[in-house]
């Protein structure tokens, strides 16, 4: 079944300018690589405010965006879209197979 | 907007006229191609130099018979990534023999300068910090060019020939690169 991509919960994300690494804006206005430390906006208006804050802290990052997330009962955040899941947790396969590094 | 030539910042003596503005009796004026076409005779009859500002979609060919009557042609970059004016510049300089000021207007950034100089631009409107320094160094940023263009530089392929071709608008290459012998190569 199609998921609700709009989502109610939003976090602000970007790529770090210096190395391209995926980062999220935390409550202190710092960019963190940990999705679980991201500041969460709980409605559309909150999202707009979050994006404003992200822009204000945007000097060292590029490609700012809001990411729709879900939150489970223990407060663990999970992006809604596959793209954002991959941005948050990396490749979905082993980049180099074990055999490929065997030769030396 | 500050105006730069390779010598540095210069005063802009040109009055840019909108199409509905009255043409002053004298002094340098810059008009659109539409106005130039519509009022060519009157503009030529007045005292003072004439310049034409082209949109990058205007056909430069329409100035073909008039290049010797113009002292300024301004070519526009609506966005720095829109490169049509480079072709207009090369046609004006190389094919039509235009020798007056060729000015880049609009979104003009320092990193475009090596390309603009090679295409024949010699004046630039820009408000980017550091533009004057970049312009001063832009012609020597690359000691090597691979193509003939409108800046008179000899492409590497000709420097490599045992008897380099020297044409009127191509000076000899760097020291020791060319013989003084003039050879024609299939021109």
């Amino acid at each position: 079944m199609a998921k609700n991509l709009a989502g109610d919960l939003l976090v602000a994300s970007a790529n770090r300018l210096v190395d391209g690494v995926v980062v999220y804006l935390d409550d202190a206005g710092q960019w963190t690589t940990e999705l679980q430390r991201a500041a969460v906006a709980r409605d559309k208006r909150g999202g707009e405010i979050l994006l404003e804050r992200a822009r204000a802290e945007g000097f060292g990052v590029v490609d700012l965006l809001l990411v729709a997330v879900t939150e489970d009962v223990e407060g663990v955040l999970e992006p809604v879209s596959l793209r954002e899941k991959i941005r948050a947790s990396g490749l979905t396969f082993d980049a180099i197979a074990a055999e490929a590094v065997r030769y030396a | 907007m500050p105006l730069f030539r390779e010598t540095g910042v210069v005063d802009d003596v040109w009055t840019k006229l909108a199409d509905d503005q009255t043409v002053p009796a004298d002094g340098p004026v810059l008009v659109s191609l539409t106005r130039w076409r519509g009022a060519r005779a009157a503009l030529l009859a007045r005292r003072g130099p004439i310049g034409v500002a082209l949109a990058n979609s205007d056909a430069v060919e329409s100035l073909a018979g008039d290049v010797s009557r113009l002292d300024l042609v301004a070519l526009h970059f609506p966005k720095f990534s829109d490169g049509r004016a480079y072709s207009q510049a090369r046609l004006l300089r190389g094919r039509m023999g235009y020798g007056g000021e060729l000015r880049a207007t609009g979104s003009v950034l320092r990193d475009q300068l090596p390309f603009m100089l090679r295409c024949g631009f010699d004046a630039f409107e820009s408000d980017q910090p550091g533009f004057a320094d970049a312009l001063a160094g832009a012609r020597t940023l690359f000691s090597v060019v691979y193509q003939p263009a409108e800046d008179g530089r000899t492409p590497v392929s000709f420097l490599r020939l045992s008897s380099p071709v020297i044409r009127g608008r191509w000076p000899a290459g760097p020291e020791g690169e060319s013989s003084s012998e003039v050879t024609n190569y299939n021109y």
Partner: protein, 557 residues
């Protein structure tokens, strides 16, 4: 280090590279210092081959005309280790992509490349891109003339071209020197085909407006025969028409194919010929001496006489079925008797197609030094080619490639899959490509079965930009996103063989990710049941049409 038998940089080429690196270093410094906005910086980094992907920057390194020396390949391995995560991805356009580059390291990485006369200039951005060629160039038995001579001439002319550095969109040129096109010249912005006319003159057929992507089109002949020394004048004329009149209002309509489509090839020809008439016999006409000087550098290596029939090879064919199959699929005729062209498959079962670790790159470089004149090629099918292998050395090369995992006898077979990086890496993708390729290649891993199925090209793209060339796959697979779910649209009957360039026909509704293998299995089963004598998958499809395939697939999934 052995001598190279292709273009060697001179002090001019090296001076330009080092000046370009200094310029890029300064641009990166200004960006990091906040003097340049991202909007201003983006085209600067792109024209130095630096993209921003999902997780990091990606550096796309040009391998001009797909030709590498062993020394260059070792340097690529070193750069992959030092500045990346120890592996790289060979692309369909004879580039190598490193996926984990830091912006702050990028100038050092390109400086390291320059140590072996390589660069990443114009591998992205709205410029003339790395010029590609037949990967068998200089070794192929059917070759009229080595296309790499012309690629190098075009490479130089197009590098930092002052007029064409802000084109409406990217511009890709491919050149073939053989009647059997291995460079896909009809699906490029400009394709050039060397041929010999009735008067025994060799010149170019100039093909314009081909391309895949969102609006796939097969290129049209702009000029039947162009004298070779007029190549640059004609290209400059064509690019000028495109630069002036190509659309800039819509990203998806800005390739030259749309211009040709909208004004018609006749009008395009008229405009280009008018422009060319002004330039003909001018400064861009290539002096014979210039052409000869470059051609001399591509002179074939002095291959010593080696026996054409070797008992050990014949014996191994009998004792090792996989070797026999490998000879059939991965070894091609060479212009010299006693030699063969060997393709190392970068598609071992279950591996990301086209990927090689630094260790594997070094391994291939060693093999090239021992057995292939120190030369390696990169094919647009994302494999590596050893162009000059003696028949006598084939067993040793097969064993050595086997140690690297690159001796899979699957060239042109169902697991020789072309795949783009897809959603795992790419910021543009809608769906993943590599995991789909992995599942397919594991499912069809058995080599004997692959040979029974025969030639079958699967090409996978993760979005409609079609980097995986799905339009021209015998089976094309296009990943789409439907409300956050990955679906895959199948198409049949695409082809890029010369004279038969064809775009695939969509089979029907897209299938779920976990049904792709079953769907392809059904397509193969339909083919096996219906194939006539000597028919390839695509031949059977052409004969019996879409319907039998469609019925079987949608009954199964």
């Amino acid at each position: 280090m052995p001598d190279t038998y292709f273009y060697r940089y001179d002090r001019y080429d090296r001076a330009l590279l080092s000046e370009r690196i200094a310029q890029f270093r300064d641009q990166v410094r200004r960006r990091l210092a906040g003097e340049l906005t991202e909007e201003q910086f983006k085209p600067l980094r792109l024209t130095n081959g630096l993209y921003l992907q999902l997780h990091a920057y990606m550096l796309r390194i040009a391998i001009p005309y797909g030709t590498l020396s062993s020394r260059q390949l070792r340097k690529l391995a070193e750069i992959a280790r030092k500045y990346d995560r120890g592996y790289g991805h060979f692309t369909t356009r004879q580039n190598l992509q490193l996926n984990w580059i830091k912006l702050e390291d990028a100038p050092d990485a390109v400086a390291a490349l320059a140590e072996v006369d390589m660069h990443s200039i114009q591998t992205s951005g709205n410029v003339i891109r790395n010029v590609t060629a037949d990967h068998f160039a200089g070794a192929a038995i059917d070759e009229i003339e080595d296309p790499r001579i012309w690629c190098e001439i075009v490479r130089q002319w197009s590098t930092l071209h002052p007029e064409f550095s802000f084109l409406p969109r990217k511009f890709k040129i491919a050149i073939t020197g053989s009647p059997n096109d291995r460079a896909a010249v009809r699906v490029h912005d400009i394709g050039l085909r060397l041929w010999c006319n009735e008067r025994r003159k060799v010149g170019f057929e100039v093909i314009v407006g081909g391309g895949l992507g969102r609006t796939p089109m097969i290129g049209k002949t702009l000029r039947e025969f162009l004298p070779k020394d007029e190549l640059l004048a004609y290209l400059e004329a064509t690019l000028r028409v495109y630069n002036r009149y190509g659309r800039r209002d819509n990203l998806y309509k800005s390739r030259i194919k749309i211009l040709v489509h909208e004004i018609g090839v006749e009008k395009m020809r008229e405009d280009v010929e008018a422009e060319y008439a002004e330039m003909k016999d001018g400064a861009l006409k290539l002096p014979a001496e210039t052409i000869e000087a470059i051609a001399r550098q591509f002179a074939p290596p002095p291959l010593p006489h080696r026996p054409a029939a070797v008992a050990e090879v014949e014996a191994l064919k009998l004792s090792e079925p996989n070797f026999a199959l490998w000879l059939k699929s991965n070894v091609a005729s060479h212009r010299m008797a006693g030699y063969r062209i060997v393709t190392a498959s970068l598609k071992p079962a279950g591996a990301p197609p086209g990927d090689a670790s630094a260790a594997q790159m070094e391994g291939v470089a060693d093999i090239a030094d021992s057995y292939s004149q120190g030369e390696i090629r990169v094919s647009h099918e994302q494999n590596l080619v050893l162009p000059h292998v003696a028949v006598e050395d084939l067993p040793a090369v097969w064993r050595a490639l086997g140690q690297l995992g690159f001796a899979e006898a699957n060239l042109g077979k169902i697991t020789d899959i072309i795949a783009c990086p897809g959603l795992d890496y790419c910021a543009l993708a809608n769906a993943r490509s590599i995991p789909v390729a992995q599942r397919l290649s594991r499912h069809f891993a058995e080599i004997a079965r692959q040979h029974d199925i025969g030639d079958l090209k699967i090409k996978i793209s993760g979005c409609i930009n079609a980097c995986g060339h799905h339009h021209v796959g015998h089976i094309g697979i296009l990943g789409v996103d439907k409300n956050g779910v990955e679906l895959y649209q199948l198409s049949l009957g695409g082809d890029v063989d010369f004279g038969k360039t064809a775009l695939g026909t969509i089979l029907g509704p897209a299938v779920a990710a976990d049904k792709v293998v079953e769907a392809v299995d059904s397509l193969v089963a339909t083919y096996l049941e219906n194939r006539g004598e000597g028919e390839r998958f695509v031949d059977t499809f052409r004969r019996i049409g879409l319907q039998p395939f469609k019925e079987r697939v949608y009954a199964a999934v």
